[in-house]
């Protein structure tokens, strides 16, 4: 942790909920990026946690933009800075809804065009800003305000969609591992072209667990193999430390599921399906890393 700079670009006066992990991640993202950075933010919890005009908790320029438009706005900004000969970092910080649902077209376009920017999706697995409705990133079985009986379909596999664009760098991260996130942001920003980081960001009110369990919840997601930490540099996959162990001997899925109100009263069938999904993901990524396809 001593490598992480003391400078703050996200001040303590945010209006995030207690135990919010996505704002914690943003703090580390900005520490890694430094002051010569611009954040582009679509409608999401991050538009709220900045504070209300004329106050702000942010200490880098923040360009707020419409829900579907973050990647396209960042495209324009990145090209403008190139035209001016500036090397400022352009970073999108967007929720899962703004990424896998309404913003996916702009995201895909910006990646296909080779835009020089870093797109970070912090994934709290629902629409937090509007009070926890389901998104395409909500996992199977999870209760949200629009899936009161539990979501009947699986989480959309955003990473494989992004992977199909062959970006020079993409990675997953989790709020419970801030140093890992910090390093990934640093590395991403050292590479030209479109970069992508997908952060799992547990959310106490949305996932219905006590606020003090935010770090534990992230760790359990990784230890059970539900969330796998990896990097893909120019197509080459590397599984990161904490997930290596978890993939060999994943902790029982119940340890992650049972602590969250959104998964209350899951049927044994759904639980089985979730277990199978975790197993399949582990196998797919292990095979790929070992070079067996």
């Amino acid at each position: 942790m001593s490598a992480i700079p003391k400078e703050e670009y996200l001040f303590k006066c945010t209006s995030a909920c207690a135990g919010c992990s996505s704002s914690l991640c943003l703090r580390y993202v900005l520490k890694a990026a430094g002051p010569d950075s611009v954040l582009v933010v679509p409608a999401c919890c991050t538009s709220v946690i900045q504070g209300i005009y004329p106050g702000t908790a942010m200490n880098v320029p923040v360009y707020n933009i419409a829900f579907a438009a973050a990647a396209a706005c960042a495209s324009g900004l990145s090209n403008a800075l190139a035209a001016l000969g500036k090397e400022t970092n352009v970073i999108v910080y967007a929720g899962d809804g703004g990424t896998v649902d309404i913003g996916i077209q702009a995201l895909s376009g910006a990646f296909e065009r080779g835009t020089d920017f870093l797109y970070i999706c912090y994934d709290n697995e629902a629409y937090g800003n509007t009070g926890m409705q389901r998104s395409g990133a909500t996992p199977l079985g999870a209760r949200t305000t629009t899936t009161p009986g539990g979501k009947p379909t699986a989480k959309k596999d955003l990473d494989r969609i992004v992977e199909a664009h062959n970006p020079p760098y993409m990675a997953t991260a989790c709020s419970a591992y801030p140093l890992d996130l910090y390093k990934k942001v640093k590395k991403a920003l050292s590479i030209p072209g479109p970069k992508f980081i997908h952060i799992l960001a547990p959310c106490p009110p949305g996932w219905r667990y006590p606020t003090e369990k935010t770090v534990e919840m992230g760790k359990l997601a990784v230890k059970t193999g539900t969330w796998i930490l990896y990097e893909r540099e120019f197509g080459k996959l590397t599984i990161n430390g904490p997930s290596k162990a978890a993939m060999k001997r994943p902790a029982p899925l119940e340890e992650y599921i049972n602590g969250q109100g959104r998964f209350k009263n899951l049927s044994p069938e759904i639980m089985d399906e979730m277990r199978q999904q975790v197993e399949q993901n582990i196998q797919r990524l292990s095979r790929e890393e070992a070079g067996v396809c």
Partner: protein, 370 residues
């Protein structure tokens, strides 16, 4: 330099002269020729802009917003469904006070698919905070596009400008075009609130009821100031390049008893109708409305007025007719004509004047209430 060009090519030539830092665009008939021509300029090295071939019009405007805020001049072009698809960002561009210039080639809206001229696309963006000018010739398309950058970027305006030209009737018509050496007519792009990492600001954050209306009023204040800026820029343009423009183009209006008000190419066609009517002894004049936003003051005292609307607000009436009525108190004869490229000749326009019924509305080609 004197050449021959289409309306689309004239717009592209003006963009080349204005040298935007970023152009983001998406094709749509009948605008496509503009973005193709600009792509050719960029590829040939004749225009050193960053050209972003976005995947949609929503993204075209979002990219222009990011680029303009990032500190460079920006341009895009669209039409019809493209304009409607970017609607959310059209509002955003004005609210963010960005001097983006956009050419909109006016076209009807589906269903059914119709690529011909109509003004409903532009009018659907009436209340977004954009300045809107409508042109009628190839030369005017060029001149208005050049002036649009200067007007938009003026520190008393800082609002986006939409240059409207009729689909096919102007976009694809060849006329003579005189391009100019712009010299220092366009000053270097300067946006007082450009993104600057040395001075980190938050743009467009949550803004509560105690503040939001102030930003809205500021847009209106600039709209009002824009009238003077437009007049100054048009005067300077006339002095430098010898072609003068105003909020309206008036033809034989001084002693007219009846005035035809229309926009775009139909407004030009009306001048021929006026000549015919004068030959018959009818003292007619024509007033082609150029600036739709900010809407000009019209001097129509003691005249009868025939308004041609190439648009319609369902359940209400012709948009231009109602604007004229609310601005002047005169109840015009409202003619709805030219929708989706419906052919309207100068003889038809002369007929509208001959058969006028002030205060009434008629749909050209629809004889009865069916």
């Amino acid at each position: 330099m004197l050449t021959i060009a289409t309306g689309n090519k004239a717009v592209a030539a003006a963009v080349k002269a204005a040298k935007p830092g970023v152009i983001a665009a998406y094709p749509i008939t009948p605008q496509t020729e503009i973005v193709e021509q600009i792509a050719e300029y960029v590829t040939a090295g004749d225009l050193k802009s960053q050209y972003i071939p976005v995947e949609s019009e929503h993204s075209a405007m979002a990219a222009c917003i990011g680029a303009s805020a990032g500190g460079v001049r920006t341009f895009t072009a669209t039409s019809s469904h493209g304009l409607l698809y970017m609607h959310e960002m059209v509002h955003w561009a004005a609210g963010a006070r960005l001097p983006i210039v956009m050419a909109n080639v006016n076209r009807a809206l589906g269903p059914g698919w119709n690529t011909w001229a109509e003004h409903s696309d532009a009018f659907s963006q009436r209340d977004t905070g954009w300045l809107q000018v409508f042109v009628s010739t190839v030369q005017e398309a060029y001149d208005a596009t050049l002036m649009a950058f200067k007007i938009a970027e003026h520190e008393d305006v800082l609002l986006p400008v939409m240059v409207n030209l009729d689909g096919f009737a102007l976009s694809h018509i060849m006329q003579s075009l005189e391009t100019v050496e712009i010299g220092d007519f366009l000053p270097a792009y300067h946006l007082p609130h450009a993104i600057d990492t040395e001075n980190p600001l938050v743009y467009g954050p949550m803004t509560g009821p105690a503040d939001y209306f102030r930003f809205r009023w500021d847009i209106e204040r600039s709209m009002r100031d824009a009238r003077g800026v437009i007049a100054d820029v048009e005067r300077e343009f006339a002095e430098r390049f010898g072609r003068s423009y105003g909020p309206t183009e008036d033809y034989r209006c001084e002693d007219a008893d009846v005035i035809v008000i229309a926009m775009g190419t139909l407004g030009k066609e009306a001048e021929v109708a006026v000549d015919r009517l004068r030959d018959e002894g009818i003292k007619a004049g024509s007033m082609r409305l150029r600036w739709f936003r900010p809407f000009p003051d019209l001097d129509l005292a003691r005249r009868e007025v025939v308004v041609i609307d190439r648009d319609y607000s369902f359940g209400f009436g012709g948009v231009l007719a109602h604007a004229v009525r609310s601005k002047t108190g005169i109840a015009p004869y409202s003619v709805i004509a030219g929708l989706g490229g419906q052919e309207v000749t100068y003889n038809d326009i002369a007929d509208f004047v001959r058969n006028r019924h002030p205060g009434e509305e008629t749909w050209f080609g629809v004889s009865d209430h069916v």
